[in-house]
Symmetry: C2
Subunit: 94 residues, 2 copies
Amino acid sequence: MSKEPNTVFIGRKPVMNYVLAVITLFGSGETKQITLKARGQAITTAVDVAEITRRRFMESLKVEKVIIDTEEISMEEGGTRAVSTMEIILSKSS
Amino acid sequence: MSKEPNTVFIGRKPVMNYVLAVITLFGSGETKQITLKARGQAITTAVDVAEITRRRFMESLKVEKVIIDTEEISMEEGGTRAVSTMEIILSKSS
């Protein structure tokens, strides 16, 4: 996954790392919209990040859209495997 | 979670069990809309169920809406814990 502005890629780090990333990015004042991207097991973490940020830190946060899709991943041993992906688009209203 | 018509609750069973439940429910012809409900780690499974059903079995399936939320769960040892939840609303167009 390439580097994209205003996108937070969710992986295996503790959930609060990503919450902090979202708060910092919104706090910089340079954007009113952030996309969380995750695949596989990290999808649950992405939902936790959105929910914890909204409930505990930024009550004005709105979940604009949740998009689910499938990505074909090339395996080292050849062939491809389908992995579910998710994008959560968050926006700050004020 | 109480019994609701046209709702498939996603838990810890193998993902294909739920895919089969969705296909069977749509196949009965009694509904054109099914809601998948999941919480915690099962959220990833719910996304897999939607994606596998759509890609492999029912190309006419559409993801109408994905809703994320938080549920307070009472703990046996007292107090509550917040758990992320997800609803995926699927519809059959034809």
